[in-house]
């Protein structure tokens, strides 16, 4: 599904990704862990086409398409979804209007008619239940005045609405208490299917108790330096990152 080869990217001339390679197949959950500043969030930004980053080398294909040539909105319509580490507040734009516009743009891309208001509301109601989202939030401006937990739930709600092929969850656990974490993880697990995949970016092993990965990768200094099964996450939890840093820097 996703094939990243030798990806180099920088922001304001500073190289962050230094030859990252990764492949993700349908049905898989990949966890990406690593110390601060390793480039974890840069990877999610580059995959989604954030204009602040520049790709200098490497290829990314997504279901056979050259991802790097697509505008951010087309990457979304092709099925890439990012659950933001810091969801953006957009005062004055209502959740309903925002979501309906997004859903209909996705449909237009697939040559489908816009969704009727009643179908849209029905779908919205269903998906809200998935993350136990408060009805009131849908009538508010996007993320405005939402608590940390509400913002993250709202991300998963949007993910459910847009039904992506590949979801990238960027530090979805940050700022969540245990209950919220469970709700969010449940939502993600319910959306898991054999034909979609997830990349879970996280600092801590904690989230991986709830969203169980098939593969765990360690990102350090702009590259994936170690990969393994879910037991690698436990080892990292126990031993920290220093041993990996030493392994890599010692070479």
């Amino acid at each position: 599904m996703l094939e990243i080869k030798n990806l180099h990217a920088n922001i304001n001339g500073k190289e962050i990704l230094k030859g990252l390679s990764l492949s993700v197949n349908a049905g898989e959950v990949h966890a990406i862990m690593g110390p601060n500043g390793a480039g974890k969030s840069t990877l999610s930004s580059v995959l989604t086409g954030n204009p602040a980053f520049t790709v200098t080398e490497g290829d990314v294909t997504f279901n056979g398409k050259n991802l790097l040539e697509l505008a951010p909105e087309d990457r979304s319509r092709e099925g890439i979804f990012l659950s933001f580490q810091y969801p953006v507040e957009i005062p004055g734009v209502s959740m309903v209007n925002f979501m309906r516009t997004a859903v209909n743009e996705h449909r237009k891309y697939k040559n489908l008619e816009p969704m009727s208001a009643s179908d849209f509301l029905r779908m919205q109601r269903e998906k809200k239940e998935l993350v136990e989202m408060d009805n009131k939030l849908a009538n508010r401006s996007v993320n405005e005045g939402f608590s940390g937990g509400e913002k993250k739930r709202n991300e998963i709600f949007q993910m459910a609405m847009l039904d992506p092929k590949l979801s990238i969850l960027d530090e979805t656990d940050s700022g969540l208490d245990i209950d919220a974490l469970r709700i969010v993880a449940n939502g993600v697990n319910k959306l898991k299917r054999p034909d979609n995949a997830s990349i879970v970016i996280t600092h801590y092993q904690r989230l991986l108790d709830y969203i169980v990965p098939d593969f765990v990768h360690v990102l350090y200094d702009g590259r994936i330096v170690k990969s393994g099964g879910k037991e690698l996450a436990l080892e990292l939890e126990e031993r920290g990152y220093d041993w990996i840093k030493q392994e890599v820097d010692g070479k």
Binding site: P72, V88, I90, V93, Y109, Q158
Partner: protein
């Protein structure tokens, strides 16, 4: 530039007076003398430094001093009256009150008088005597002085004590001429104690010539009265609109003024609200959407003379291309106006680096027990929000539009007539989409 108008007045002041009303003529010579002294305002004056009128005033405009009827049927050229807005509808063609009464207007509540100033001067001279020029004649301003010398008519509205107008009054200014034309008019609006009225003023142009309008509106809001003043400007880019709105508020009155410029050439709105009684509520809002070479200057003052009053001011601008915006927010709190709560906000978005915005909050506070705040920002659209929306599949253009629309939304929310609010939402959205936000048949912009 002034000389041709000085000569015009000197040669034709008899005709000007003959075709006007005694109430208006009373101040005419004094206004003319003041205009001779002040001349047209230039950018050298602090109050006019953001609007250069030189080019607009260099045009050789025709004036209709002899009040020759303009052949126009406003109903043919004006199709804005969308279903949903039930209003009492009046037209001013250039600077003359259109005399044919709309059938709907016959149902006005008892005692309400709406008509031309000239007419009312003949039928109810006592009503004009105490009010005409009361607010405008004290101002040291070249444009107001010019208006005093040359205005021969205007719109008049009187709402008697405790009478509530059940529908908004809509005043449509239509500019119609075959040659470059100047319209000068002076409006008077009086609300007696406890009266309630909503006025919607729409400015339109129907011919492609250059227009300049100089309109002064005086509004007197008595104790406990409620007045809403909406101005919707949708004129072509060869129009210069110079408008002065002066409002006087008595105790416990409630005033909302909301001035929206959707499309224009050069506009300067001078708005002054004098709060002359205790326990008043004042809201002054406005919005500007400007592109190409449009210029809009809102020069506003709220003057708190009495204690225990609240005022709120909110102006928002979205400027593109070479558009120029200016905002001045004077807030004066007199020494005795204790417990005043006054808040002012001006926020602006520049869509291109070539657009310009000048903003000037100007607070003069002489009382010591007040709550006052002001804030002014100039920025561009929020890039992080744009990316967030695009990540959800919303195109860059649509995302920009949603953000701009959201930005203007709180000004639109300050429209207390639901049908008008809906219509303005629709017009603003069309305007932001780059479609002509014309009311069919009345805008001729390229």
């Amino acid at each position: 530039m002034e000389q041709q108008y000085i000569d015009l007045y000197t040669a034709h002041h008899e005709s000007i007076k003959k075709h006007s009303a005694p109430a208006m003529n009373g101040l005419r010579d004094a206004s003319f003398a003041q205009f001779e002294k002040l001349g047209f305002p230039t950018v050298a004056l602090e109050n006019y430094k953001y609007t250069d009128l030189k080019e607009s005033l260099s045009i050789d405009y025709g004036l209709n001093i002899n009040r020759i009827p303009i052949p126009v049927n406003p109903y043919d050229v004006f199709k804005c009256d969308v279903p949903g807005i039930h209003s009492y509808l009046y037209f001013v063609v250039n600077d003359g009150f259109y005399p044919v009464t709309d059938p709907r207007n016959t149902q006005l509540p008892d005692g309400v008088i709406i008509g031309s100033v000239k007419e009312v001067a003949a039928t109810h001279p006592e009503l004009l005597k105490d009010y005409f020029g009361k607010l405008s004649s004290t101002k040291e301003d070249g444009l107001i002085a010019f208006n005093g010398a040359f205005a021969q008519d205007g719109f008049f509205m009187y709402v008697p004590e405790n009478v509530v107008l059940d529908k908004p009054v809509q005043l449509v200014n239509i500019m119609r001429a075959d040659v470059d034309f100047m319209a000068v008019s002076h409006n008077v609006i009086i609300l007696e104690k406890g009266a309630k009225a909503q006025l919607l003023v729409c400015d339109h142009t129907v011919d492609e010539v250059r227009f300049l309008s100089n309109r002064v509106t005086e509004v007197f809001v008595a104790e406990n009265a409620t007045y809403e003043h909406y101005k919707l400007e949708n004129t072509h880019n060869k129009t210069t609109n110079l408008s002065t709105l002066l409002i006087d508020q008595d105790a416990s009155s409630n005033v909302l003024a909301n001035v929206i410029t959707l499309h224009n050439g050069v506009t300067r709105n001078m708005i002054e609200i004098d709060v002359d009684g205790e326990h008043c509520e004042t809201s002054l809002c406005g919005m500007v959407i400007g592109d190409k070479n449009q210029q809009v200057d809102n020069f506003t003052s709220i003057i708190h003379n009495k204690p225990n009053c609240n005022s709120r001011e909110l102006f928002k601008y979205v400027l593109d291309d070479l558009a120029k915006g200016a905002f001045t927010g004077k807030l004066y709190v007199a020494k005795d106006a204790q417990k005043t709560a006054a808040f002012q906000t001006n926020r602006n978005i520049l869509l291109k680096k070539t657009a310009k915005m000048r903003t000037k909050p100007q607070l003069e506070i002489y009382a010591d027990d007040v709550k006052c705040s002001h804030g002014a920002t100039i920025g561009s659209l929020d890039e992080t929000a744009l990316f967030y929306m695009r990540q959800r599949g919303i195109s860059a253009d649509e995302a920009r539009l949603l953000l701009m629309f959201a930005f203007t939304n709180d000004v639109i929310e300050n429209i207390r007539i639901p049908a008008l609010q809906d219509r303005i939402k629709m017009l603003v959205e069309k305007r932001l989409r780059g479609e002509l936000s014309k009311c069919e048949g009345c805008v001729i912009c390229q």
